[in-house]
Symmetry: D3
Subunit: 236 residues, 6 copies
């Protein structure tokens, strides 16, 4: 992805991005119900590379299946391009794992930018300490075969009720994860940077005792002027 | 599909089939949570032809999309082969419709054997009266575009937590719908016919006052003998 | 149970009984989420005889288990005393059946007064036509072994979030099912008969155009007088 | 409300109305999860008159409260104007009733056009037979006091996740219920009548064997012409 | 509120308060499902000041609405009196935010004692670090307009299935939040202080190896005597 | 339990155990939805000692009941043998507590190895700091009497949808809790130790840059050889 866009998206919140997409009529781009295994204080940013699970049929999902070098779960990990975020459609079912620490470690080693499932990870306590951001709904120890069969790599999916297309830009912070349609990433990143400057200004004013009425949004002329001055003074 | 297998499956219950699959280690083949729009007293039987929905992104799902002759929802209806059951993965989300009466009527006219969604149909009261079996979770009037984007035709899907592969044999009765893996259809049909004969015999005995202990299953030799006699007498 | 109490309970609604128990501080006696397989227009009344399911462990719940003449599900059906209502704790899990038509037919033949589960029945369309009232949450074709192991006969259970003790009086109408603690059955039946007379009077008045203010409840003296006259006139 | 608008809305489906509102950017106007107590084959149409429940606090919700002539539940029934639909916000909680047959009968006698709750009605089997349409999620026998306190009459509410303002036009058919913002009722009614004519034409064509591609929507010129001819021939 | 009562409530647990209310027949005063954004080790105590959301209708909830100086969400923040706890009825829907860090910061600056929603906050990681207690169900980045319209300030509401009236005393600890009816606050605070002394004594004894039978509650005379001695010794 | 088995189970993860049971056809042994009150970094291991709750009936569950020295909740705490894990069936209902800090402290003093509920604990912040592992779904301050009646000690139960028999071996780590059927504990522990050695080897290789294909599982001969060498070198 565009490195400047990535840099911008590293510095804005998912909340701000959600508002920027809301302005464009997109209301369902936040992946609902997922949380970081551990807050890292740094954003996850990268294009989506997807994996889709369907419900497991027992005869097709014995442990021996993992011996197949073409098993889609393992192949997906090996194919996910550097800098991409793997997004897994687990049908919001965390009764069995979407992946475990070995696969997430491998993804990290290959330069993956992060991993998200609307199910759960096994070895979650270990994954939390890895140097790669990961988001799920809750820890889940059973092997994925118990309820999930990996069936498709890098197609369009749903994740936490959000639509995800390969190449969409995925951004996660310590609260949530959002999916920015690829063609909007640059303009949304620009706008979010602007919005963030304003929000930082507002927080500063509010901490100084200002009312939010007329300030957030800045419907009073004086606040617009103050913001302009603040930008100049703060180099933003 | 094999017409003899179809004939056999027309005469057995989903409950009996579920037990036959259970014997083979398959525990999740019933599509959970769906019901017939109207009990028809006749089974729905046919190979699965699938449609998958993903969550709708607003900019891709305006009404104008339906003007596209390649729109997958409409194309799926036109491609579903005669005698097949259309099975729709709506991610168990009935907040918007999976289809309405016009499309289901078209499917009926093309010889479709039935339609199943783990979401809901609009125009459900009308569909209920059509001469094609239909199963869903509840009526849902909003157009599918509201929450669903049709994204894939005839791939492997989940429906009501059951795995469905194109060509699997789908059977519905007035209670439930089950998915029989294609390679098991013939043997399961045979076994279910046998089981049904035995169950009919058991019901008759129970209505005559027999205890179920030793009869269901027939662990007492005398019951096996009585069943043999009953089969001879009833031509089954 | 007391035949006079039974006769009274045949003539009152679950709603009226719920209010009578509410007066006594009992707010959770309605079995939540169950419905009759078919409205019969006649109440189900009888003491509770219970069966408890726990989650099935696969090695203990193969089909062969049913060959055990001591299998609790089948034994419970054979032990349920005449006139009793079998109440099944299925942990509100309808993914597998609580029972099927053969067992319910046997219960009917043995004089059972009804059957209730907070799960689902298989062969539900058949059970609906039997001459015994049955209540569940939805049809469910998979054999009980899939998710349930029958573990205890006639102990205290929960059913649809209501507490049920063996011998409690269970009443079902076309809406709902309620559990009356055994020691309260006689007095609650008496009170419900009184309340029903009053409600019948009120309905008549309302259908004649009366306002409900001052009538329901009868805080206006004139309505109490009218009720007294109505009772005399109608022999109630 | 405008009698012509009402007449139009009597003749269109909720599904058609949902699409008309969808065109205007309104995606959440269908009251999710409710169903008619009995399909009447006739639409319910009328302006909304609302009642809001909050969770019951035990000390404020003893049976004696009903003796208060100002009790909001009963007052609401007596105030609901003729021709209006009472819409009740029960917080999607059907563990206790929203109302029972006496109140609904009174509403019917006063000329109410219908009643909707996102909870449940007690005496549901009786209400189903009354000459007033009623919609809920499931029967619920416990008195409303068990979990609900009626707290506000005719304010803005949520019902089944849909926003409802007093005076909005509520339409129900045998499938669902929809809420049309008051200021859009006339134009939406007009448009829905047009859409219904077209859908009726399409159904006729489909039953004659036509494909839906190019017909629904009518992207082929020949279908537009055929529709014009059909309208002329059928006086629509 | 009474400063002595506040001081007492700062020193007792929500669990103890729940038991004190249980004794008075109040069983539903704990706000279900909420958790502190960050455990502070100090109680939140203050009278409730409420805000109610209804489902958002798209035409009424565009971003421009925030420019309205009367927008109820922002007005509520500016009106919440010092020392009060803002309690928000978000209909248990965390798909969109109830508020974000700017508003919560403003509430903090104005002396608010805390904020609770049965939905979720955006900017949750930031709010967690503010010097004001906050409780929600999970982080939620989408702007409130996505699913919520602020409709009423300081009326009676439900929050997490608990009834909340303006002026009720709200207490939160690191586990849960409870709502004490205003008229009971003083007596419940007194009782909770007594109960806490006893519980502290019990914990000490249990850590010394005592059995709980006869001690908790103190049905053995010797334990009552020991408690009296302990109180004297510890100045409680 | 066998001390060697216990030692082995202290050193393996629940995820590994889940896979070992999966190989034996047991797919539902993880207690779904529970989490440690605080990650301890050390496993909980011990035989199950169970307690079952049923829904509370108000007249049987007043505070005075705790004065009964035979109250099953308190008796269970006093009877739980040293080294055992108390597992509580709370019907997945966390609206009221399963236990509080005093009882859990007592269990700790008596040498209990841990405590698990599929409901919630009150005083959770305090319990989290105790020297005994505890797992639940979320904090819950209301006294257990509000919704639960302790009804049976040390019988077979369900907990988080898993079957639990007294004496089954319960293992918890920072992610999840699993229930090993008693007769499988020794062999599963052995196998899990072996699996853990292999997984540790794999992680090391993956951190060195190895692909997972052919390594996990080790379908390539060279990886088996490398593992053998690794075992020798590392004394495992």
């Amino acid at each position: 992805m565009n490195p400047e866009t990535k840099a911008k998206l590293m510095g804005v919140s998912v909340a701000t991005l959600a508002t920027a997409l809301y302005k464009r009529g997109l209301r369902n781009q936040v992946i609902q119900g997922v949380q970081p295994l551990k807050g890292k204080g740094v954003n996850m940013v990268g294009p989506a590379f997807t994996l889709r699970y369907m419900p497991a049929r027992e005869d097709r999902n014995q442990l021996v299946e993992f011996r197949n070098p073409e098993h889609p779960q393992r192949v997906a990990i090996e194919q996910c391009p550097e800098g991409h975020v793997m997004v897994i459609d687990s049908r919001k079912d965390a009764r069995a794992a979407s992946a475990g620490d070995i696969l997430v470690t491998r993804l990290m080693m290959r330069g993956g930018a992060g991993i998200v499932t609307d199910g759960g990870f096994r070895d979650a306590a270990t994954i939390a300490e890895l140097d790669i951001p990961a988001y799920h709904t809750r820890p889940s120890s059973p092997t994925n075969l118990t309820h999930h069969e990996a069936i498709e790599i890098n197609g369009p999916i749903g994740c936490g009720d959000a639509p995800v297309f390969p190449g969409d830009i995925v951004v996660g912070d310590d609260d949530c994860v959002i999916v920015i349609p690829a063609h909007l990433a640059d303009e949304v990143a620009d706008e979010a940077v602007e919005m963030t400057a304003f929000e930082d200004f507002v927080v500063e004013r509010v901490k100084d005792g200002a009312t939010i009425i007329g300030l957030y949004p800045a419907t009073k002329e004086e606040n617009l002027e103050a913001f302009a001055a603040w930008r100049a003074a703060n180099g933003r």
